[in-house]
C-alpha cells in the first residue's frame, strides 16, 4: 500500500472521483465512501451535480476527506483515485486523475462472480477500500446504512468480490 494512502494520519486531503452513467449507482457509491470516512471521524465533503431524472448521461461525484477539507470539489487533475463504473466513461474522466493516481475500472473485476451485475459500483468500492486505511467495519456499516435491507446481502458480497480481486492482483 502506498504511503500517502495512510489517510488517518495524513494532514493532506484524499481526493476521490467516482464516475459513470446515470442509473449505475455513482451517487450511491460516493455516498457510501463519504459515510465510511465520516464514521472514522474525519472531515468529509462530497460534491456532485444531479437533478436530471433520465438515465444514461454522464455522472460524476467527488469525495474528499482528511483532517480539514475546504472546497467540496476535487480540483482538476488532483484525484488520487478515479473509480469509473462504465468503461466508456474512462477517457472523458481521465483528466481528473493526479499524476501517479489510481484508476479503478470494472475490468479489474470478474463480473461473473457478481450475483447481480448492478452491484458493480459496490464491487469497485471493494477494490478502492484496499487502497485506503478506512477500517473494514466502517465500510460495512456505511454499506448497510446506505442501502435498503433487501439489497444488502448482494452488495456486501459484491464488496468482498472487489476486495478479493484487488488483493489477488496486488
Amino acid at each position: 500500500m502506498a504511503a500517502w494512502s495512510n489517510v488517518l494520519n495524513a494532514t493532506s486531503v484524499t481526493n476521490i472521483v467516482i464516475a459513470g452513467l446515470g442509473g449505475q449507482g455513482v451517487l450511491k457509491a460516493s455516498g457510501i465512501v463519504a459515510d465510511a470516512a465520516f464514521r472514522c471521524g474525519m472531515d468529509v465533503k462530497k460534491a456532485e451535480v444531479h437533478g436530471m431524472s433520465q438515465r444514461g448521461g454522464s455522472v460524476a461525484s467527488d469525495i474528499r476527506f482528511g483532517r480539514m477539507v475546504l472546497s467540496p470539489m476535487v480540483p482538476p487533475g488532483e484525484a488520487r483515485f478515479l473509480v469509473v463504473i462504465s468503461p466508456d466513461q474512462v477517457e472523458n474522466n481521465r483528466w481528473q486523475l493526479a499524476p501517479g493516481g489510481v484508476l479503478i475500472t470494472p475490468d479489474q473485476i470478474d463480473e461473473r462472480k457478481l450475483k447481480n451485475r448492478k452491484s458493480i459500483n459496490v464491487a469497485l468500492l471493494g477494490v478502492l477500500s484496499t487502497h485506503l486505511e478506512i477500517p473494514l467495519d466502517a465500510w460495512l456499516a456505511a454499506i448497510n446504512a446506505n442501502l435498503a435491507e433487501r439489497l444488502r446481502p448482494v452488495n456486501l458480497e459484491a464488496f468482498q468480490v472487489g476486495r478479493d480481486a484487488a488483493r489477488s492482483s496486488q
Binding site: A34, V49, G51, S53, P72, Q89
Partner: protein, 538 residues
C-alpha cells in the same frame, strides 16, 4: 448535539425543523427540491404547490398568521414568485418567512444562470448566503430569528454546490415554539393600497437601514487570517474555494450579503495592500463596493460564466488570462429507453411540425434521434410562444405549429396559455399536446395536483387536466395512450393539425421510471390510505 453528514438541502430542512417552522411550501426545481422532501421526512409539514408564486403566497399567509414558514424554489422559480415577493417586503410579516432561492451557476440543470442576489437588492429583502451544510443549517435558523426580529422576509440564497454537497453538520437544541398563531387584523400594514403602501415603503427602508447597521458588527460575517498583503472579500461557496486556493491570506467572509456591512468591508479593504472580490456569477459584491467608493479588484468577465472552483480562483488571483482547459464532454442525458415521450417526438418529427416546447424531460426531444423541438424558454412558455408563431407565420407554416407541455408544467403555468388560445384564437387554430406522464419527472419524480397525491404520496385532491381543458370551452379534446399505438397517436396529431380548431391532445402514459412507484403508492393507498408505505427509494 448530533453530528451528521448532510447535503445543504437536508441541512436547511433540519434547520427549518429546529427553528420551529410549521409549514414549508414550494415547487420542485433543481437544486432546491430535496429541501421539502427532507423536511417532510423529518416530520415537518411540507407541501408542493402548483407553482412558486402560489407557494410563496401560502407561506406569506402563514407568516401573517404568526407562524414560521419557509418557501423553496430554484432560481427561476423566484421569477414566477417575484410579484408577491416585492410587495411582501413592504407589508412585512408577523411570524417568520424564509424564502429559499437555489441558484444554479454553471447551469447543471437549468435554462439560465441568473444571479438571484440581485433580487435581494431589487425587492429590499435581507439575504443570507451559507457556504456549506453547517452554515445552511445555522443560517436557516438565523434567518427565522432575523425575520422575526425585523419583521421582514429573509432570502436564503443557496447555489448548486451548497445544495448538493454533503458536509458535516452539528445541530443545536431546537428553538422554543412561536406563540400559537392567531389572527390580528392590521389592514394598514397588510392591505397595499397606495395610501398604505407609501408609508410601508418608507418602513421597509428604515428596517433595511437598521439591518445594515446591525450587520456592521454581526457574527454572520467574519475575518479569517491576518495577512496585510492580500485580502479576499467573498461569500457562499466561493469562500471555501478561496481558502483552499490561497492559504494564509486574509479573507472577509460575508454571511449577510444584503444589506452589506459597508464600513466593515471598507476597513478590511484598507487593512490589506490588495483587496480582491471572489464571487460566482454577476459582479454583485464588486459593483456594490465600488459604488461605495471602496477600491477592490473584480474578477475578469470570463468568470461571470459558470461555477468557480479552486483552480479558477487561483487564476483570478494570479491574473492568469490564459484560456481555461475545457473538460472533455461527457455523454449527454437522453430520454430513457421506453420513455413515453419518445412516441410523441417521433410523431412530431415525422409530421414535420414546428414545435414550441417547454421544460421537463421532454425538452430532450431537441436531441437526436428526434430533433423535434424548436423553442424552450421557461416553464409554461410553449403555449404562448406557439400562439405567437401561429399569429405571425404565413398560414401554410402556421398550420404546422404545435405546443408541447408536460403535465406538471401545464398545471404550473400552462393553463393561462390555454385561456389565451381560447380568447385570442389564431386564424389557423392551434394544437396543444399535454404529455401527461403522471409525475414531475425531470426533477426527480415529484407529485403534483394532477396526480391526486400529496408530497408524501398520500391521497390529496386531484385536478383533472381534461376537465380544466373542457371547462375553457375547448371541444376538441382527446386523451390517448401514445405507447399503446404510436401510429394512432401520429394520426391523431395529423388530424388535429388539419382541423384548424383549438385542439388539445392529452398523451397519458406513466413515466417509465415512475410507473412502479406510482403503482406502489396506489396499492398502499388502497390498502390503508397509504399510511404504511413500503416504497423503497434506490
Amino acid at each position: 448535539m448530533n453530528r451528521s453528514l448532510l447535503s445543504g438541502d437536508e441541512a436547511v430542512a433540519l434547520g427549518a425543523l429546529h427553528a420551529g417552522i410549521s409549514i414549508g411550501a414550494g415547487y420542485p426545481g433543481t437544486p432546491s427540491t430535496e429541501i421539502l422532501e427532507a423536511f417532510a421526512a423529518l416530520g415537518g409539514r411540507a407541501q408542493w404547490s402548483p407553482n412558486e408564486k402560489v407557494a410563496l403566497e401560502v407561506a406569506i399567509g402563514a407568516a401573517y398568521a404568526g407562524a414560521r414558514s419557509i418557501v423553496t424554489m430554484k432560481h427561476v422559480g423566484l421569477n414566477v414568485a417575484a410579484d408577491p415577493l416585492f410587495t411582501v417586503a413592504y407589508t412585512g410579516v408577523t411570524g417568520a418567512l424564509v424564502v429559499v432561492s437555489a441558484d444554479d451557476p454553471g447551469m447543471a440543470s437549468s435554462q439560465n444562470e441568473q444571479d438571484n442576489r440581485r433580487y435581494a437588492v431589487a425587492a429590499g429583502i435581507p439575504m443570507l448566503e451559507p457556504s456549506d451544510s453547517q452554515e445552511a443549517y445555522d443560517f436557516t435558523r438565523r434567518a427565522v430569528e432575523l425575520s422575526e426580529l425585523w419583521q421582514v422576509p429573509i432570502l436564503l440564497r443557496l447555489t448548486t454546490r451548497v445544495c448538493h454537497s454533503m458536509t458535516i453538520v452539528e445541530d443545536s437544541p431546537p428553538a422554543s415554539a412561536p406563540a400559537e398563531p392567531r389572527y390580528e387584523r392590521d389592514t394598514r400594514r397588510r392591505v397595499m393600497i397606495p395610501s398604505n403602501a407609501r408609508p410601508a415603503h418608507r418602513r421597509l427602508r428604515e428596517k433595511l437601514a437598521a439591518a445594515a447597521l446591525w450587520n456592521e458588527s454581526s457574527d454572520l460575517n467574519r475575518r479569517v487570517g491576518e495577512s496585510t498583503e492580500l485580502g479576499i472579500i467573498t461569500s457562499g461557496i466561493s469562500f471555501v474555494h478561496a481558502r483552499e486556493a490561497a492559504p494564509g491570506v486574509a479573507i472577509l467572509k460575508l454571511g449577510l450579503t444584503y444589506p452589506l456591512p459597508v464600513e466593515r468591508i471598507r476597513a478590511f479593504a484598507a487593512s490589506v495592500a490588495r483587496a480582491v472580490v471572489i464571487e460566482e456569477g454577476d459582479p454583485y459584491l464588486a459593483e456594490s463596493l465600488r459604488a461605495q467608493g471602496i477600491t477592490v479588484e473584480a474578477k475578469p468577465e470570463a468568470f461571470r460564466f459558470g461555477e468557480l472552483n479552486v483552480d479558477r480562483v487561483r487564476r483570478i488571483l494570479a491574473g492568469d488570462h490564459t484560456p481555461e482547459p475545457a473538460p472533455p464532454p461527457g455523454k449527454p442525458p437522453q430520454l430513457c429507453p421506453g420513455c413515453p415521450h419518445r412516441v410523441a417526438f417521433g410523431a412530431l418529427r415525422d409530421l414535420g411540425c414546428i414545435v414550441a416546447g417547454d421544460i421537463g424531460c421532454y425538452t430532450l426531444g431537441v436531441l437526436p434521434p428526434f430533433e423535434a423541438l424548436d423553442t424552450c424558454v421557461c416553464m409554461g412558455a410553449s403555449i404562448g410562444v406557439g400562439l405567437g408563431l401561429r399569429h405571425a407565420l404565413p398560414p401554410a407554416e402556421a398550420r404546422k405549429v404545435v405546443s408541447v407541455i408536460g403535465d406538471s408544467t401545464f398545471i404550473h403555468s400552462g393553463i393561462t396559455g390555454l385561456v389565451e388560445a381560447v380568447y385570442n384564437r389564431p386564424a389557423t387554430g392551434h394544437v396543444v399536446i399535454i404529455l401527461d406522464n403522471g409525475t414531475t419527472a425531470m426533477t426527480g419524480l415529484q407529485e403534483h395536483p394532477g396526480t391526486g397525491r400529496s408530497l408524501h404520496h398520500l391521497p390529496a385532491g386531484r385536478v383533472v387536466i381534461e376537465d380544466i381543458v373542457h371547462s375553457l370551452g375547448i371541444e376538441d379534446v382527446h386523451v390517448v395512450d401514445p405507447w399503446s399505438s404510436p401510429d394512432a397517436f401520429r394520426n391523431q396529431v395529423a388530424h388535429a393539425l388539419e382541423a384548424g380548431d383549438v385542439s388539445v391532445i392529452i398523451a397519458r402514459r406513466d413515466c417509465l421510471l415512475a410507473a412502479g412507484r406510482i403503482k406502489a403508492y396506489e396499492r398502499a393507498i388502497a390498502r390503508d390510505g397509504g399510511l404504511e408505505q413500503c416504497v423503497e427509494r434506490d
